[in-house]
């Protein structure tokens, strides 16, 4: 029982990481109906930037927000440079471009920083604390707290501010918003910047756990896909719930299902994706899609 509880707590911690990345995917999906395959690699690059700052002696709690600002600017830059020229192109074109971006960022990071895994500092110790009989590490609790704060901030921004309202309006009714004076294209750029910053949080949180290297996010993005599909790909709240469920499920499956073990945990994510598509294609919180002729 104690082992079970511990697995659940650490599952919630990794789930928070998946949830941040899934939320980043949902932000871009809501803005332009596109799944950004490069989200993980963008987070990886941001994590390398944080690593460079910290290794140059910058305090962690200064480097962390500074990285988010850089990631935000980077996201806007990517939208302006590679996405805007093809904004009106078919969806397939956009998806292929994000894939090109994935490969490009991965190769660039490999060329600049090398493929040797590096340990990434965490401000939280790995010492454990006793909560209701389960031992949770401070690192897990810290990850949960940081992810929670980020998710709450995004929620408040989207639901309670004028900028958030404008962004949602631009995504839902681009034509009408444009008539009302909203600069729709810049709102999309803002969405990319926001997604990039939220994704960067997941990269910085996961790096101390799985070591920093260019392919670090390749598996995390699959878990985030599973989380987003499970929660309903257009629902921010669904992404969070999906992330937590995927985190806990994967952790439990790795321990209690002997044929899964450590090396097939990723296959659980694939099974979740396929299972959701078969049983409940719109996910837990998604609305059924209606197509207009």
């Amino acid at each position: 029982m104690q082992e079970f509880l511990q697995l659940v707590v650490s599952g919630i911690a990794t789930g928070g990481i998946f949830a941040s990345l899934a939320l980043a995917l949902v932000l871009i999906y809501n803005a332009m109906g596109l799944v950004n395959f490069a989200q993980g690699e963008m987070a990886m690059v941001a994590t390398f930037i944080a690593f460079t700052l910290i290794s140059h002696g910058v305090n962690y709690w200064i480097a962390f927000p500074a990285t988010l600002v850089i990631a935000f600017a980077g996201g806007i830059a990517i939208q302006r440079i590679v996405i805007r020229p093809v904004e009106r192109a078919p969806l397939l074109t956009l998806v292929i471009i994000t894939l090109g971006l994935t490969t490009l960022l991965n190769g660039l990071a490999g060329a600049i920083f090398g493929y040797v895994p590096r340990s990434f500092p965490s401000p939280f110790s790995v010492q454990t604390v006793d909560i209701f009989g389960a031992f949770a590490s401070y690192r897990d609790l810290g990850v949960i707290a940081v992810s929670g704060v980020v998710l709450l901030a995004i929620y408040l921004l989207l639901q309670r501010t004028t900028v958030g309202l404008t962004m949602r309006a631009a995504a839902h009714h681009p034509e009408a918003s444009r008539l009302l004076g909203v600069r729709v294209s810049w709102m999309l750029a803002l969405g990319w910047g926001l997604a990039s910053a939220v994704g960067a949080v997941s990269g910085i949180m996961v790096a101390p756990i799985i070591l920093l290297e260019p392919n670090m996010m390749q598996t995390i993005i699959i878990y985030a896909f599973a989380a987003a599909v499970l929660g309903g790909i257009e629902s921010p709240l669904g992404a969070v719930i999906g992330g937590l469920i995927v985190g806990v499920t994967v952790n439990l499956a790795g321990t209690y299902l002997p044929f899964v073990g450590g090396d097939l945990q990723l296959a659980v994510a694939l099974a979740i994706i396929i299972g959701v598509l078969v049983l409940k294609p719109n996910g837990l919180l998604g609305r059924p899609s209606v197509r207009r002729v």
Binding site: V35, T103, L104
Partner: protein, 363 residues
């Protein structure tokens, strides 16, 4: 008869020239290079499969590397455990991969193309660890080593009669791959210019309109996915033959990306596109790795960075630039150039009626 040949459209002559070029190629290059070209043709076959899916039916698969792995392992296991002749296993591998692709496509294709892309991308990432698991069947991390194929006596004799040297196993592999390539390209050409191809294109260009015209959306989408997995399975099987071994690391995610690069660069929704794309995707990293260090004008810092980055940066940049500036790839560029040249030579089409001047060869 002579009259018939004289009135053939020019593209038939082009096809003939290309086929003759590929048949004659091994006689002018050495055996090792023939092996490389066999690999390029393997990629071309897989890219043709991807092109049927992406270019003609508008669905995106990022997991064709996994279906190649499936084909390669089916062949390798049949040869290694059940002592089947390798040539016999190639169609078996293709058909089984096609069947599994068909089944995989059933859930994913009920929704938008995005979900198929997501699910197949996950499949490509998971594939190596899935392969490693049944270790006694697949050989685990080491994979399975295959003996180089022995060219049959007849083929070897015929080759010796032309070139004066016996046929090597690389050259035999090349000809086997070429034969499959010709067959599969011919099949694709037939498939795509008839009813099935029209239905697929209709779905790509407007699902609702296609459904309203009585096209079975889910049926054709899964069919397209099954066919393209069949092509990937054949290509995977030939890949094992050409490489001499199969291992989980032969089929990384980057293989699926490489296939996509080839499909996009060659030209989506075209028959010659995959051939050009396969050659491009195979030789680009090899050639650029040999070319960059020899160029003294490139600062050594940048040259070593490019070398370390490997093909990933080039592939990524090529994908993005092609999609932005030439979404129809090389074939699209050549086609546009040809149309422009014809316009110059024969006069521009009438803007008012939009009619082209009479083309003497089509009547």
């Amino acid at each position: 008869m002579v009259q018939r040949f004289r009135t053939l459209p020019p593209r038939y002559w082009l096809v003939l020239v290309v086929v003759l070029f590929f048949i004659g190629l091994p006689t002018v290059i050495d055996s090792f290079q023939a092996g490389e070209w066999a690999q390029a043709l393997v990629l071309a076959i897989a890219i043709m499969g991807l092109n049927i899916l992406v270019g003609y039916s508008g669905q995106l698969s990022l997991g064709h590397g996994a279906f190649m792995a499936l084909g390669a392992y089916i062949s390798a296991i049949l040869v290694h455990r059940y002592k089947l002749d390798y040539l016999l296993t190639i169609p078996i591998a293709g058909l089984l991969a096609g069947l599994i692709g068909f089944l995989f496509g059933v859930p994913a294709l009920r929704l938008s193309a995005l979900y198929l892309a997501l699910a197949t991308f996950a499949l490509a990432v998971v594939a190596p660890s899935l392969i490693k698991r049944p270790a006694e069947l697949t050989g685990g991390v080491q994979g399975i080593v295959l003996l180089p194929p022995v060219p049959p006596q007849g083929a070897s004799d015929a080759y010796a009669a032309v070139t004066g040297a016996a046929m090597t196993s690389d050259q035999w592999t090349y000809y086997v791959t070429l034969a499959w390539g010709l067959l599969l390209f011919w099949l694709a050409w037939n498939l795509l210019r008839h009813r099935t191809g029209r239905a697929m294109r209709a779905i790509r260009d407007g699902e609702v309109a296609a459904a309203a015209s009585g096209i079975n959306l889910a049926g054709y989408k899964t069919l397209a996915f099954g066919i393209s997995a069949f092509y990937a399975g054949i290509a995977g099987s030939l890949f094992g033959l050409a490489a001499g071994f199969v291992s989980p690391d032969s089929f990384p995610v980057s293989l699926s990306i490489q296939l996509l690069v080839g499909a996009v660069v060659g030209g989506l929704a075209s028959i010659p596109g995959p051939l050009i794309g396969g050659i491009f995707a195979y030789f680009l990293p090899i050639e650029s790795n040999q070319w960059v260090p020899t160029q003294t004008w490139i600062p050594t810092q940048i040259a070593s960075t490019i070398e370390k980055a490997g093909p990933a940066v080039t592939y990524g940049a090529v994908l993005i630039l092609t999609m932005i500036f030439a979404p129809n790839g090389i074939v699209g560029l050549v086609g546009a150039g040809y149309a422009r040249l014809r316009g110059r030579l024969r006069g521009v089409p009438d803007r008012e009626s939009g009619q082209m001047p009479q083309d003497p060869q089509t009547v």
